[in-house]
């Protein structure tokens, strides 16, 4: 029996490569033979570009439908990259999400995603929530629905401080919402590392400090123009270049996900609290 993993990709700062990571991770996990859905919860809908999907889907065909109050279990999942991979689907996001913000702000609104998934369960092994960068109602709903969190960050002051804000936000919400068990941190990924001295220094200094606080830090992913090129072609990195050094660190994360799906201990959050 496989465990469904609901992985929220979150950050406290924008532009750190969330969507790129979501798309490539989704692809890699699907490649291992699992059924994967990516929920684009971002009103920007950048996943639509990454997968070259219709940029203005009908609101009912987007994740906004879940928050509409009329959700009836119809997830409009679009298969992507199906000439390369089986069973990778996307539930599109986009500007319709702006319209449901008032619903989300209402009492119980942030529970809608979790309620939808428990009332109308999906059979996917992995559901990735690609969240917007600002920590408000949508990421909150993802936090409630998720079993795991993955935090990409860039080795710069803005993104690092974003993780402080995120950790603070996480603790406050877990306490306020009395989430039990709260979602586990799958780990941090240092992303888009450039060759400059400051990036190099920070990507060396950060991991031991996160690890000392009980968080896993995945191997850093360097900045490559190949990512930009893959985006332009609207394909995952592996399709763009079958062998590429950046595939290896992504695979490490995919393997970690596989382990959880195959029956890592469930519901036992790696506590951020230290005795």
């Amino acid at each position: 029996m496989l465990n469904q993993m609901r992985l929220a990709i979150m950050t406290g700062a924008g532009g750190v490569g969330k969507t790129t990571l979501a798309a490539n991770l989704g692809f890699e996990v699907a490649r291992l033979g699992y059924k994967v859905a990516i929920f684009d919860l971002d009103p920007q809908g950048s996943l639509n570009v990454a997968c070259r999907l219709n940029k203005t889907p009908a609101p009912k065909a987007t994740t906004a439908w879940i928050y509409s109050g009329f959700f009836d279990g119809s997830y409009t999942l679009v298969p992507v990259w199906d000439q390369h991979i089986k069973e990778l689907e996307v539930f599109q996001g986009g500007s319709a999400l702006f319209k449901v913000m008032p619903n989300l702000a209402q009492a119980g609104g942030s529970h809608l995603l979790q309620e939808a998934l428990s009332e109308y369960p999906l059979t996917h092994d992995l559901i990735i929530f690609d969240c917007p960068a600002t920590l408000e109602q949508i990421p909150k709903s993802a936090l409630i629905a998720a079993t795991h969190l993955l935090v990409p960050l860039m080795p710069d002051a803005k993104a690092i401080d974003g993780t402080r804000v995120l950790l603070d936000w996480y603790a406050a919400n877990v306490q306020e919402l009395q989430l039990s068990p709260p979602p586990t941190f799958l780990g941090f990924v240092i992303n888009n590392v450039e060759d400059g001295a400051e990036h190099q220094r920070l990507s060396k200094e950060l991991p031991p400090r996160y690890e000392a606080r009980g968080y896993r830090v995945f191997p850093a992913i360097k900045h490559y123009t190949a990512f930009t090129n893959a985006w332009s072609e609207a394909v995952p990195l592996r399709v763009h270049r079958a062998t590429h050094p950046a595939l290896e660190p992504i695979e490490v994360i995919a393997k970690a996900i596989q382990q959880e799906i195959k029956g890592g201990k469930r519901g036992k959050a790696r506590s951020t609290r230290r005795g």
Partner: protein, 392 residues
């Protein structure tokens, strides 16, 4: 060269740690509070039981009573340790008149002298005796300055308990509207002794309607403001003293009257079968309120039929796990079916006349011959066949 401007990773992480520490402490505080509440509840429970036992039997040395007192004493010793308390400051308890025999006090004095004090006496926080009058009198006789004591709180009045229980469950989801409404009404009635319970929701509704008519409002966040502010606002609104009190009590429980009026108090109007379903079968309150519209008066049917229909609705909602929208749909459907059947049933006068004459037909003392009766039987059977065919 520009090293002083670079991000210091350690100072950043110390900030992370500080935040985390705050949450850890808060969590710890909550656990401690819960533990404390549990302890206090246990204590209060024992104190109440002991008082009850004392009231029931005059025998002070009944093993059950001594047992309970022993348990309370141990509990208090463990949770707070013992204290030396000035003998002079101790007051006997007027509510627990006890005949103290000089003989007993004398033998206790002897025991205290020889073995010292074995068990601490139990005092209320103000120094009033709960248990150990004998030891106290003996110690006084011996001229002791202090005596070993443990302390317990005076048993709360039921109303204070109710209020506290409400406030501790206040922020938990889970409390359904019905329980919430009933508890709030009970609390208001505790505080205002002569107020009939059914008046509480009426007062709220009445005042809110009046305010609306005068285009006045309480303000959205009044329930989150300090009590003085709440009083000041209420004073400006010209409400009578009882209304003032009711509003202040609810606001003091961090409840906004407008929201109660809209979302919580309507649950009090549920029929008893729906209330039972909310409590025993965890039917959602929102769904129950929708099913409540299936009343005999609304449907123009008998109470029994309405009850049956609601029972069907309760089963449907629970089995199918219907949302409020779906419940609404179901109710609308039932209602339209109901009106259809009553409007489509245009009545035929001929049939009506036949029905009434057959009802009146009295065959007990009839002079009719067996032949005639057979004729009637035949006729009715023929007609019945026809009716059955029509109904198919």
């Amino acid at each position: 060269m520009a090293k002083r401007d670079r991000l210091d990773v350690d100072s950043f992480f110390s900030e992370v740690d500080q935040n985390q520490e705050v949450y850890n402490l808060r969590e710890r505080l909550k656990t401690l509070e819960d533990q404390l509440n549990e302890q206090v509840n246990h204590e209060q429970h024992l104190v109440a039981e002991i008082e009850q036992l004392r009231a029931q039997s005059q025998a002070q040395d009944s093993p059950q009573l001594q047992n309970q007192i022993g348990e309370l004493r141990e509990h208090l010793k463990q949770s707070q340790g013992t204290h030396q308390y000035p003998v002079e400051k101790i007051q006997p308890n007027p509510d627990q008149p006890r005949k103290t025999f000089t003989e007993e006090v004398e033998s206790m004095a002897l025991s205290l002298q020889q073995e010292g004090q074995l068990d601490p006496i139990i005092l209320f926080e103000d120094g009033m005796l709960f248990d150990g009058e004998c030891r106290w009198r003996a110690a006084k006789g011996l001229g002791w300055d202090t005596i070993e004591a443990v302390f317990t709180a005076k048993p709360d009045q039921p109303k204070a308990l109710r209020r506290r229980a409400y406030l501790t469950t206040l922020h938990r989801r889970g409390l359904n509207a019905l329980d919430k409404a009933e508890t709030l009404v009970a609390i208001a009635c505790d505080e205002i002794p002569d107020l009939p319970p059914e008046e509480v929701p009426r007062i709220i509704n009445r005042v809110l309607t009046r305010l609306k008519r005068r285009k006045q409002s309480l303000g959205e966040r009044l329930h989150l403001q300090p009590s003085e502010q709440q009083q000041a606002v209420l004073q400006q609104l010209e409400v009578d003293p009882v209304e003032f009190q009711v509003f202040l009590i609810l606001l003091g429980l961090q409840e906004h009257p407008a929201s109660l009026n809209r979302n919580i108090f309507p649950a009090l109007n549920l029929t008893s079968d729906l209330k039972a379903a909310v409590r025993e079968q965890s039917l959602g309150c929102a769904q129950a309120l929708i099913l409540n519209r299936l009343s005999a008066a609304d449907l123009g049917v008998s109470e029994r039929q309405a009850l049956k229909l609601r029972e069907k609705g309760i089963r449907e909602v629970i089995d199918q796990n219907l949302s409020t929208a779906q419940t609404q749909q179901w109710v609308t459907q039932q209602k339209s079916q109901d009106t259809q059947s009553s409007t489509s049933a245009t009545r035929d006068k001929q049939v009506d006349r036949f029905l009434s004459s057959i009802q009146k037909l009295d065959l007990t003392n009839t002079e009719a011959s067996p032949e005639q009766l057979r004729e009637l039987q035949q006729m009715l059977e023929d007609r019945l066949k026809h009716v059955k065919q029509l109904l198919k």
